[in-house]
Amino acid sequence: MIRLEKRPSPSKVWTYATPVLAVVLTMLAGGILFAILGKDPLEAIRTIFWDPLFHPQFSGFSRPQLLVKAGPLILIAIGLSMGFRAGIWNIGAEGQYIVGALAGAAAGLALYPSESVLIFPMMVIAGALGGWAWAMIPAILKVQFRTNEILVSLLLVYVAENLLASASVGWLRNPEGGGFPGSRSLSGWDASSNPELIAGTGMHWGVVAGFIAVIFAYVVMSRHLLGYHIQLAGQAPRAARFAGVNPSRLIIMCLGISGALAGLAGLFEVTGPAGQISIDFNAGYGFTAIIVAFLGRLNPIGILLAGMLMALTYIGGELAQFMLALPAAAIQAFQGMLLFFLLGVDVLSNYRIRIGARETA
């Protein structure tokens, strides 16, 4: 008989240990999954977690990819984590990411083929505003009508995907593209490109923005009253009201910040690694970032590390696809599994597990 017993205070040790434990358990379960698929589990795990960084032949290519993939994940997850802490569930970051990219690209392409240095900064602002505006829809509906933000933000992802489709075949299509869907190349146009800043590192402006977001979130969450209010509202909504927190303002703030950051991530992606608006531009970063946020325990530093790890599984997954013919979907299932294990072992930080005999104190 297993019983749970609430700890008087959350365990500090387990708070840090649970993500590590979850990763280990996921590797074990993933190994079993790979074995079922007929792959050598040890080789698959090594290919995913080790080879991208240290393989003599491939690491040269894949190492820079780490930051390229981690950048948007961290940027989005930082925004989401602030809302999650307040009990505000923006799960439509994928949509805000798309709309941010669309808004930024549209703003830039409107001035094509100018070579002004102001174009890129302007696109950055437009991208952030686009994501922000898309997140304001669930925010305002929640504040005004108490509409569930989970459902609205998620449904808006499908709306955004249709917007993306109509942009790439219609209003943003490259007039010189011979009728193929997709916009002009943004990475190929100097004024709008978001290049690799230091050769061989994968560092681009989006990664820089991600690091700045981590520092910003760290300061806000640990030192600023906004961060305190966010945590209070998430843990004890009535106490937050008693402390003078205006719930509506908090909803607007949290959804706004996460939307703007997701929009930024989309903009940096479309002007850099993706290079143009295309029908399948969105790669699911907005959803994977939810896993990153939880894996990082909604803590900015944790998210930085979790973003790196999750980027590694992306790159490692691609490598495993190439070298072991492991299906791409396996990595997706693997990531979902990680979130399951994480949520499951989380119980250890707030509860003690007692097995069998009851103690008499």
């Binding site: 004890a236 009535r238 003078g244 009851r358």
Partner: protein
């Protein structure tokens, strides 16, 4: 053999605390047996064992001389044990009949059940409509639902856990009449309470628990309340004395506040007016759920009202939020300690920041000064003798009494001009309760105005200068406590305060 239930050496331990230690006593058929003890004395754990919710670590029970070890409440009910809970085990969105059916093993068809409910409620003088939603009922009516649920099963033993804490004096009389009738019919009653006068009025025998152990038994009718109290608390009580306060100028005024309820089963406030002077304590009595939370929210600023309805030193503050009111000196402490007055999982330091940030200047340019906040928390802990290893501990790790001392201390130490507290000693042990009352009286003697909202009438009679009653969202006119009798208080609480009390006074 005239023993119905016999407990023999029941022991139950939880990590860090022995809730029951070798508890033994007997109850005869038709006997009204009191189980007396302070909060935390182990009364609830004991009855949960009898009702099959908790398994004893050791010890045995016997019912009618046969071994009795219910593995779940269903088994206990089948054996003829029924229980009326302290915190009601009712479902607000369901009807009276549905609630009753849920507590029965083999409920009859709905129509037949409704008929039985009407019949039994009539027989015992507890009128009840089976089709009403429980959420719409008053606390007294809800208790009737529980009692009738028990009676329909024709119990041999009825357990009542603090049944009168939510009743007006008149409702208590009705309940006692019912219980005496039941007892005369041969039903044994295990009556749990810490209210001594009630036990003296009702019970045939009493078992007194302290720290999980039986510390004495007595015949209540032949024992003084003071003797029982000393057995219960384990030391000689010294009464706090209401100091004579010189009432000063009016500091807070509320004029005809009407506030529709924001939740489906909440209470709407109707035409509530009050006036508070410096240096006095205004007691607001009444059973919880009659608008207490709503009134506190309107005073604390959690609910905003029209600007001119609330005046603080002649400034209109109805539209100001909690922190703006704190800045002016209007502070408050809500009833619910965990989740409202304090965030359970946050440390005491973080909880000190919760209300202290404005007056203690714990943040500059919205950046938090954690060192200063920690010092403030430590001061509260030290001044109010809060038992905790330190300010980094989570609020939920404290006992009820200690957390309440922290919550009240946090406000008192901010030198408020006005402090509003709701149920300051609810569920708090006697020594903490005494020190909280003392702190509130000391605060008033420094010239602050204090409002105590409480359902403990003894407490209000003891510390308040003036008394008024909150009933169904209406507040009676206030009267000085020193010339109020229990009957008058009862009438005020019953809602009949307009005429009757007027000509008595």
């Amino acid at each position: 053999m005239t023993t119905l239930l016999k407990l023999n050496g029941l022991t139950k331990a939880y990590p860090g605390v022995i809730a029951n230690d070798d508890v033994s006593f007997e109850i005869a058929p038709g006997e009204v047996h009191a189980l007396l003890g302070e909060n935390g004395a182990g009364k609830s754990t004991l009855v949960k064992m009898i009702y099959g919710l908790v398994k004893p670590d050791s010890g045995t029970m016997a019912l009618h001389g046969d071994a009795f070890a219910p593995s779940e409440p269903r088994a206990a009910r089948a054996a003829g044990v029924a229980m009326v809970f302290q915190h009601f085990s009712l479902f607000e969105a369901l009807s009276v009949a549905e609630n009753i059916a849920l507590g029965m093993e083999n409920p009859p068809k709905p129509r037949e059940l409704s008929h039985q409910i009407r019949e039994v409620s009539h027989t015992y003088g507890l009128p009840l409509d089976p089709d009403r939603r429980v959420g719409e009922l008053s606390a007294g009516e809800r208790q009737r639902v529980e009692i009738i649920r028990c009676l329909l099963q024709d119990p041999k033993l009825l357990i009542m856990d603090e049944p009168t804490s939510v009743l007006t004096p008149q409702e208590v009389e009705i309940l006692f009449t019912t219980l005496r009738k039941l007892s005369a019919e041969g039903t044994a009653i295990l009556y749990i309470s810490h209210k001594l006068e009630e036990i003296r009025a009702l019970c045939d025998a009493a078992t007194i628990l302290r720290g999980g152990k039986v510390v004495g038994t007595c015949v209540p009718k032949e024992t003084t309340a003071r003797e029982m109290a000393e057995l219960m608390v384990g030391k000689v009580l010294h009464q706090t004395k209401s100091g004579e306060h010189d009432a000063g100028d009016v500091v807070l005024k509320m004029e005809s506040l009407s506030l529709p309820s924001s939740t489906p089963f909440g209470t709407s406030l109707q035409n509530v007016s009050l006036e508070l002077r410096r240096g006095e304590i205004l007691g607001i009595g009444g059973v919880a759920g009659n608008g207490q939370d709503e009134l506190l929210a309107a005073l604390s600023g959690e609910t905003k009202v029209s600007s001119d309805v609330i005046k603080f030193e002649n400034r209109e503050i109805g539209q100001l939020g909690p922190n703006e009111r704190r800045e002016m000196g209007l502070l408050s402490a809500p009833e619910e300690r965990l989740g409202h007055a304090a965030a359970p999982d946050m440390s005491l330091t973080e909880n000190a920041l919760l209300t202290g940030v404005v007056r203690q200047e714990l943040a500059a340019h919205r950046f938090i000064n954690w060192a200063k906040t920690k010092t403030f928390a430590e001061t509260v802990i030290e001044t109010f003798d809060v038992r905790t290893p330190g300010p980094t501990n989570a609020a939920r790790s404290l006992s009820g009494g200690n957390l309440q001392k922290f919550v009240i201390g946090r406000e008192v130490l901010q030198s408020p001009e006005v402090l509003v507290v709701n149920q300051p000693t609810w569920g708090v042990d006697a020594s903490a309760a005494a020190s909280i009352r003392q702190a509130l009286m000391d605060l008033a003697s420094t010239g602050a105005g204090v409002i105590i909202i409480s359902q403990d009438l003894d407490e209000l009679m003891e510390v308040a200068d003036r008394f008024c009653a909150l009933n169904a969202g209406r507040l009676s006119a206030s009267r000085p406590t020193k010339d109020l009798t229990v009957d008058e208080v009862g009438l005020m609480l019953g809602g009949a305060h307009d005429m009757e009390v007027a000509h008595v006074g």
